[in-house]
């Protein structure tokens, strides 16, 4: 953008500045994914040993074994439920923070950032104290005599979804908030003067204009939920494992690197497709904005 003509040194400057970051990412992210692709065609011999010969055995196993399809389907279902519940729970607070004239609005925003600073592990295991047999809900229900036996709330799919919502909700709220905050308030006033009820003004003006943020939040929540394996590990039983757990077990447990590579590629490609479909409609810059909020 500089008015003076660019010299060769000027042209080189951005690449010099970018070099350290790009080299890091090419070496640590792009090259490993290429290696992963190659490994997925290697032959698994026994735990921790593979033959460097070309075989499609891993891929055939993946496409024919319903075990993997079941986990894939379950992961998609759990991630979708999580993302939709996050949207339903997250929209009203985002709307409130954007629209309120409360003078300590910054505090509400700060409180949305604070969870990002609290260890994810701690936030996740805190649900054991809420849902467990000795947890708040069961203790209260037993005290009031509503139940005589503790309910099985922990180590269920519900608990896993709960934990993921807890961790993803701030992402969702921030994304929606940013897009509602960007709406020209005069549009709402105009809708009202032209005879819309408060509800109509929301439904006809605010909701459509905040859709990009809502969609970005949905994508982010879906991708992060589908890729997780620590939450099911802490809050779920073995039956509630997700695809990430299968990958972890395949690699760290069975030391089956070729199959683990194939499964990682599957996860990457499927989530990539979701992101691409999304960016066709919305553009990824939205998500970047949401991440930086």
């Amino acid at each position: 953008m500089a008015a003076n003509p660019q010299t060769a040194a000027e042209r080189r400057a951005p690449w010099l500045l970018l070099a350290p970051s790009l080299i890091t990412l090419v070496l640590l992210m792009i090259l490993p994914i290429c290696i992963m692709f190659v490994y997925s065609f290697y032959e698994f011999v026994t735990a921790g040993v593979e033959k460097h010969v070309y075989t499609t055995a891993n891929w055939r196993e993946f496409f024919s074994d319903s075990y993997y399809h079941m986990f894939l389907w379950k992961t998609a279902r759990v991630a979708a439920i999580t993302a939709i519940l996050c949207a339903l729970l997250g929209y009203p607070p985002a709307y409130f923070i954007a629209m309120t004239q409360y003078k300590h609005k910054w505090l509400l925003l700060l409180l949305l950032i604070v969870p990002f600073w609290i260890s994810f592990t701690i936030r996740t295991f805190s649900w054991i104290h809420i849902l467990g047999e000795q947890g708040v809900i069961n203790v209260l229900l037993m005290k009031t005599g509503l139940i005589s036996e503790p309910l099985r709330l922990l180590y269920t799919e519900g608990a896993v979804i709960m934990g993921m919502i807890h961790f993803l909700l701030p992402y969702m709220i921030l994304n929606i908030y940013v897009s509602i905050e960007g709406i020209d308030r005069n549009l709402i006033s105009a809708a009202r003067t032209l005879g819309c009820t408060a509800w109509q003004a929301f439904y006809e003006v605010v909701l459509p204009l905040s859709l990009p943020g809502l969609m970005a939040g949905l994508l982010l929540c879906f991708v992060l939920a589908a890729g997780s394996y620590v939450t099911p590990d802490i809050l779920g039983s073995t039956r509630d494992s997700l695809f990430g757990n299968v990958i972890f077990d395949t690699i760290m447990g069975q030391l089956n690197w070729p199959m683990g590579s194939a499964l990682s590629i599957v996860l990457l490609v499927l989530l990539g497709i979701v992101a691409v479909i999304y960016s066709r409609f919305m553009g990824l810059s939205r998500v970047f904005k949401g991440l930086g909020a």
Binding site: P14, L17, L18, P20, S21, L22, T24, L25, L27, L28, M29, L31, P32, I33, I35, M36, P92, P93, F96, M99, L108, L111, V114, P115, W117, I118, S119, F120, T121, I122, F125, S126, W127, H129, Q134, G135, V139, L169, P170, I173, R185, I188, S189, R192, A198, W199, G227, V230, D233, G244, I247, I251, G260, S261, L268, L271, L284, F288, L291, G292
Partner: protein, 269 residues
């Protein structure tokens, strides 16, 4: 604006109540951990049998925990410094220069935040296997740098856009070279973002568990993986005390840092 304010009837009330409930939902479980950490009982859950600090005392004698804490702090510090430096340079290129392929570069820099951590975890481990290198602490550092880089780039970019070019152009026209200009003009103006990204990277690294489960050298635990392995044994009250301490570190640090930055900005100018 008036029309909006007037219309705040029942619907708005409901939204307000709902918002409060959502905030309760976000913070109540964490408060429970903090409260239970002072529980005198042998067990990690309810009921409370008395107030005591003994789990904190016991924590201080737990060598495994102290070692994990030390490991996490070292890894997080090194990661924060290197990653922030890389990110500042990268953001500078993206905001201050025009060059072909900028969109692509931007996407690559942000990618680690969008690629599932499990995949990044497997990938880096495969790289080590392929290159026949052992897993060391440096693997954790390198991995955490990759994971945190997008956030540094985003934070610094946002600040850089807000710094007017005229200051730099003035320095350049007065005879400073690029490096002098950066050191004397850009960097001081960028300081709040640098501090913010140092803290951000520190917490991202300190907190990371998903990828660290893949990357940690055998026998080495970071703070989160240590907590996870303790959870596998039992929900002991010590974990609650540990959790509370970690909350104090990871929430206290950014709050102090943010306050300090604000104070410095006010008294400095």
């Amino acid at each position: 604006m008036n029309a909006v304010a007037e219309s705040r009837g029942l619907g708005w009330r409901l939204v307000q109540v709902f918002t409060v409930l959502v905030y309760v939902f976000m913070f109540a479980p964490i408060m429970v951990v903090v409260i239970l950490s002072f529980n005198d009982s042998q067990f990690g859950g309810f009921p409370m049998t008395g107030i005591s600090f003994r789990w904190y005392a016991k924590l201080m004698e737990n060598d495994a925990v102290l070692r994990a804490f030390q490991t996490s702090i070292i890894v997080a510090l090194i990661t924060a410094v290197i990653c922030s430096a890389l990110g500042v340079l990268g953001a500078l290129a993206l905001v201050r220069y025009e060059f072909p392929g900028k969109e692509w570069i931007n996407t690559i820099l942000i990618a680690p935040a969008l690629v599932p951590e499990t995949v990044l975890g497997v990938g880096l481990l495969l790289l080590m296997r392929w290159a026949e290198q052992p897993r060391t602490l440096w693997l954790l550092v390198l991995g955490h740098i990759m994971l945190a880089l997008p956030y540094v780039v985003l934070v610094v970019q946002a600040r850089l856009i807000g710094i007017k070019r005229v200051y730099e152009e003035a320095a350049l026209s007065l005879g400073a070279n690029r490096i002098q200009t950066f050191r004397e003009i850009t960097l001081p103006l960028l300081m709040p973002a640098v501090v913010a990204s140092l803290l951000l990277v520190f917490t991202i690294s300190f907190d990371n568990i998903t990828a660290s489960m893949f990357w940690r050298p055998s026998g080495v635990e970071t703070m989160p993986t240590q907590i996870l392995s303790m959870l596998k044994v039992s929900i002991s009250p010590e974990i609650n005390a540990l959790g509370t301490l970690m909350i104090i570190v990871t929430v206290g640090l950014p709050l102090i840092g943010g306050g300090l930055a604000r104070y410095l900005a006010r008294s400095g100018r």
